[in-house]
């Protein structure tokens, strides 16, 4: 049975969070680290955009700057996400591709299935909404993004806990095309959150998702290795650079 490393809930700034995910990916690729599941928050609050998005198109950058919200480009595709410190839980799962279904679609379904199971533990009946979302009654409660490189799969995703929807959409630019086929009046109607559905604490959400992600897995609690920490420090320089974040 594969031994997983579980990294307990941490908080970092946006650049460090993305750098740590990538450093772990490299370490797993080089067989220096076990496959890893980590949980994290974003401090300060941040906006991340997908690999193929334009920062200026997707994000109200001046407003983010004035409100101290950090903007970062992910290595994964997908859309722009507002990461509120109090409003969401983020996870990443990183392991050799052989541990997951070969089909990208199926691997999303399997990994998101764990999140859905976790939400079920706190009384929320969620469902997988291909390609990469989890929804409750058609409203998004979790977004997920995956990359595969050099034999390693990295998927990170967020679970909306107590979202300040008004603030989210004041920081993101959402085009009318984006919501055109969703049968909804506005972008705000697209999302829901854990607290609006089940009055659990953030800790209870975390424990439910942790339990679902570790179920039937052999695991040990772990931390970033010195090599990973050193590499993450290097990668922070990339993730904090305008040449990366405003490359498109």
């Amino acid at each position: 049975m594969t031994l997983w490393r579980i990294m307990q809930l941490e908080e970092h700034n946006a650049y460090a969070n993305m750098a740590i995910d990538e450093a772990i990916l490299e370490s797993v690729r080089d067989a220096r680290s076990n496959p890893t599941i980590r949980f994290y928050r974003w401090n300060p609050c941040a906006v991340s955009i997908g690999r193929f998005q334009s920062m200026n198109d997707e994000v109200n950058v001046s407003r983010c700057t004035s409100e101290g919200v950090t903007c970062v480009r992910r290595i994964t595709g997908g859309g722009a996400v507002y990461h509120d410190y109090d409003g969401e839980l983020t996870y990443s799962i990183i392991g050799k591709e052989v541990l997951f279904p070969k089909s990208i679609w199926e691997s999303y379904r399997v990994i998101c299935g764990r999140i859905i199971k976790g939400l079920g533990k706190i009384g929320i009946n969620a469902e997988f909404s291909p390609i990469n979302d989890i929804t409750v009654n058609g409203r998004k409660i979790s977004g997920n993004a995956q990359t595969r490189r050099e034999g390693v799969l990295l998927q990170h995703g967020t679970i909306l806990y107590r979202t300040d929807v008004a603030r989210m959409f004041s920081l993101l630019n959402v085009s009318k095309e984006k919501i055109s086929d969703k049968m909804i009046k506005s972008a705000e109607d697209r999302v829901t959150s854990v607290y609006s559905l089940s009055k659990v604490s953030f800790q209870e959400l975390y424990e439910a998702i942790m339990a679902a992600m570790t179920e039937y897995r052999e695991f040990e609690m772990g931390e970033l290795s010195p090599i990973e920490a050193s590499r993450a420090s290097e990668l922070v320089r990339t993730y904090s650079s305008n040449s990366w974040n405003f490359s498109r």
Binding site: F52, Q53, D57, T76, G77, I104, I131, E177
Partner: protein, 93 residues
Amino acid sequence: MHGESKLKSPGEKLISIKLTYWDRIDDIQILGDFFIHPEESLALLENSIKGMSAGASEAEFAETIRLTADRNSISMIGISPESVAKAIRMAMS
């Protein structure tokens, strides 16, 4: 000339095209919330469009993208050659 378009096809992700063209396409950016694996290969898709006639049909753009994706084992998720081609034509209309 500069052209832009946005297209959200049912069941797919949002595609945004920004291009410059005269009789041929000089430059193009394919943007959006889709997924492409490996991510670096988006540049191959964009480069395959550069230099094509601005008068090329939607089918011709789609075929070029499909061939480039097939030859380079590029996985396109939430985006298709047909929708990119349609968005390219929209950007020049």
